[in-house]
């Protein structure tokens, strides 16, 4: 199984101007732990919305790669959005689900993936062009390559260990996170 921090660090290595949306809870802390970046849009709420924010962003910025990094609980709450993304077929959107099979923020209750609900199969059924499971750190380079060069839409279900990592808390002011992201994006457009 993957260590979440090590895997996310590998994924964001040499990220260039990758646009990153992080789902609330631990994925937001994981992304922040790799080093703050103005092209990170950290979610602290809006559970179930990360993939759709990724879609709106991917449609608006077809020339750039968009990575949504989220948890299994957050992805499950927005399961219908995988169907919506499958209809639009954004070629620049990759969703990586950090799957510890539990709701970490609320006391580690088991999630649907714990019972075997298969997000990669759901994504494939929703017309994602690629979907894969990873559970070994050796696969991180391949996932990083998909994030940057793999087309889309792609969903990666990354099986991470369920142990807790120290919290690394980025800014919680949504206006500030948004404005910084938009300014950084317009500077490179």
């Amino acid at each position: 199984m993957l260590n979440r921090r090590e895997f996310v660090r590998e994924l964001l290595l040499d990220r260039k101007d990758l646009l990153v949306v992080s789902g609330l809870g631990s994925p937001t802390y994981d992304v922040a732990a790799c080093g703050d970046h103005p092209l990170n849009f950290y979610l602290w709420g809006a559970m179930g919305g990360a993939a759709m924010i990724g879609l709106g962003l991917a449609l608006a910025q077809p020339g750039r790669r968009v990575l949504v990094l989220t948890g299994d609980g957050e992805a499950l709450m927005g399961l219908g959005s995988l169907a919506t993304i499958g209809v639009k077929q954004p070629g620049n959107l990759v969703i990586v689900v950090l799957d510890n099979q539990h709701y970490g923020e609320t006391g580690m209750q088991p999630s649907h993936t714990r019972a075997g609900v298969d997000l990669v199969a759901v994504a494939r059924a929703c017309r994602f062009t690629d979907g894969l499971y990873v559970s070994e750190i050796g696969a991180a380079g391949r996932v990083r390559d998909l994030v940057h060069n793999g087309g889309g839409p792609i969903l990666v279900q990354a099986r991470i260990a369920s142990d807790d990592a120290p919290r690394v808390l980025p800014n919680r002011d949504g206006h500030a996170i948004k404005l910084r992201f938009m300014e950084a994006l317009s500077a490179i457009c």
Binding site: L57, Q61, S81, I177, M182
Partner: protein, 176 residues
Amino acid sequence: MDDRTKSALHWPDAIHAQFRRVGIRQVGYVPDAGHSRLIELCVGDPNIHDVVLTTEQEGVGLVAGAALGGQRAALLMQSSGIGNCINMFSLLKNCGFPCLILITMRGEFAEFNPWQVPMGSITEASLKLCGFLTCRVDEPNDVEDTVGGGCDMAFNGNLPVAILLSQRLIGRKQWN
């Protein structure tokens, strides 16, 4: 055809013209009879990404992502869809994203289906609690001006704006 009849038939075209005027590039919607003409216009517009949603709450995320990427977006839904969005609206307030929603009302004038009434009767109050500016349109001739004004307020001020298109405007749903 007199002017009144003409505008009654063409209010969706007037809304689409406002979308073009303010440069709306993404439109999220759940299929809806009242919005059917406007949806057709958006689907046929090469400048608009039409995004068919499985539930209205997905549209709130879409609007936020579009804004982050520098595009303007609008949502089309029935009044019942507002109930599906409530928690996701927190994204708009927390980050100050603009949001324009055009809502076809159910559960009011001449409603055939009583199951539409509970949500239809609290739609406007719910929107206000969520921080939306709301504006109701009953007359076809008022659509263009009201929607135009709503667009300007939403996108000039990063505000959430909802236009309620009344059931009297849309007309009775035909059941036979």
